[in-house]
Symmetry: none
């Protein structure tokens, strides 16, 4: 038994509990450590879920939850759960203004805080715009084109490069064949020479446009490889080479443009392509 002792050293609020869990995390047995990690990462789930549902979610047995609670001096899982509920209760009053006040007070007192806030705000603005600026039918067409492709060529340089590198990672996980153009210098052209009209390309470029991206897109287009592109202006050199293109203007803070909307777009596109492929394959093999 883990020392019943006095009830005084049982954590009475969430912060205290968190501290104790972190302090003892290293010495915890495997399953209990698993619960510890889950509980701090998904506190809301603990607050609302039932022991059974949480156990499933955290991939342990319900009894493990009870043992976990008892390890920290609680009578059972239920009393531990109260701590997580209290945490949500106490944060309620006037959240709209309160959060706003908290943000501006907390962060802007320190110099770097305003920079931080600025970027979060810029990202929000970008995302607010994205829904209206992206035409859903064009999106559908883009998914169509790329889902049909044998290999997808990803073209992005400089500031756009993180976007294509995320897509490369995700495509790899999703088993979608791709070629990441623009990693090593020199071999790009050889890589592109292999593209046929059975393939397709996705190009990203924001002003000031990398001339390489534009010329690579043009090269592919001239060889009948369908190109889908993401850019920030109708005047982008990418637009003329593309079968479908999207105009997406990112908001900026102090001149540094956000990437959040582009990133969300890229994720959606990536998953939509994989999704469509799976559906098509299902239909074919049935």
């Amino acid at each position: 038994m883990p020392t019943p002792e006095t009830t005084t050293d049982v954590p009475q609020d969430f912060e205290a509990l968190k501290a104790v869990i972190l302090e003892r995390k290293a010495q915890l047995p495997k399953r209990l450590k698993q619960v510890a990690a889950y509980s701090l990462d998904n506190p809301d789930e603990i607050a609302f879920g039932t022991a059974a549902s949480i156990a499933t979610s955290a991939d342990v047995q319900p009894s493990t939850l009870v043992r976990f609670a008892q390890h920290f001096g609680f009578e059972g899982f239920s009393s531990l759960q109260q701590i997580f509920r209290a945490r949500l209760r106490e944060r309620t009053p006037g959240y709209e203004e309160r959060l706003k006040a908290l943000r501006s007070n907390d962060h802007s007192k320190l110099e770097s805080g305003s920079i931080f806030n600025g970027f979060v705000a810029a990202a929000h603005r970008s995302l607010d715009n994205i829904a209206t600026s992206v035409d859903p039918q064009a999106f559908e067409r883009a998914v169509d084109i790329l889902a049909k492709a044998d290999t997808i060529y990803l073209i992005a340089k400089r500031r756009s490069y993180p976007i294509s590198s995320y897509m490369a990672y995700a495509f790899g996980k999703l088993k979608v064949k791709y070629q990441h153009v623009g990693t090593a210098a020199g071999i790009d052209d050889d890589m592109l020479a292999m593209a046929t009209k059975q393939d397709a390309a996705f190009a990203v470029s924001f002003s000031p446009y990398a001339s390489e991206s534009a010329s690579q897109a043009r090269l592919l287009a001239s060889r009948k490889v369908p190109v889908v592109s993401l850019t920030d202006s109708a005047f982008s050199p990418l637009a003329e080479s593309s079968k479908v293109w999207f105009e997406l203007v990112e908001a900026d803070h102090a001149g540094f443009r956000s990437l959040s909307a582009s990133m969300a777009f890229a994720m959606a596109l990536t998953v939509a392509i994989a999704e469509k492929r799976r559906r098509t394959e299902d239909a074919a093999t049935r």
Copy 2:
């Protein structure tokens, strides 16, 4: 029975429910009016309590609560309770409105549209979280450490790689000396071997953690190179090697986690570092 009707006009969120209750309050029978008043005055109690405890508290019978819920089109008390719980879960301001705006755009009509909307919503949620989960003082300390460094080593693999590759790009533009660890295999260790305690490192890793990132961070820490890290759990292997670390849980759509918050964080950090350096240099040469 109080009109089974279609399920479409059953309130789906707290605001809608509140409106409906207030609208029909006057015509409600005595006991139901009592419940109506109680539920709007003590929404937290409804969220967490049991039917029995709430009934006692509101001085009615448990069955009255069920009848009350059914009067407003819910199947039973439990489904009404979900609305009150959701309210606490989604404590972020403006979130509901944003989602509503998203829902009403024409994306939802097309198949890929829901994927698109899902990722935008996930990005919003991530950003809403970031302001509260990042401690401004820790951020300030992180900026301090990295601004003082001679060379900044960027460590990130796989899903986190786009983040460090953005920072690499931005550092280049801002003339901040950096080394991007993890690009080419093999030379990483040689690169890290050159790091001294005059330098610093920024590591990013989300679960499932890339073991390389963790071991590289550990290596640097053991050689007194200060490490700042961005991760998603207090249990991350990065945490123990880091002087300052940030916990940032990205929201996900269909299991694909957003990168928007991490990206915004990375941008803010990057710019704040450059900003701080410029200020320090100004002060020195003056």
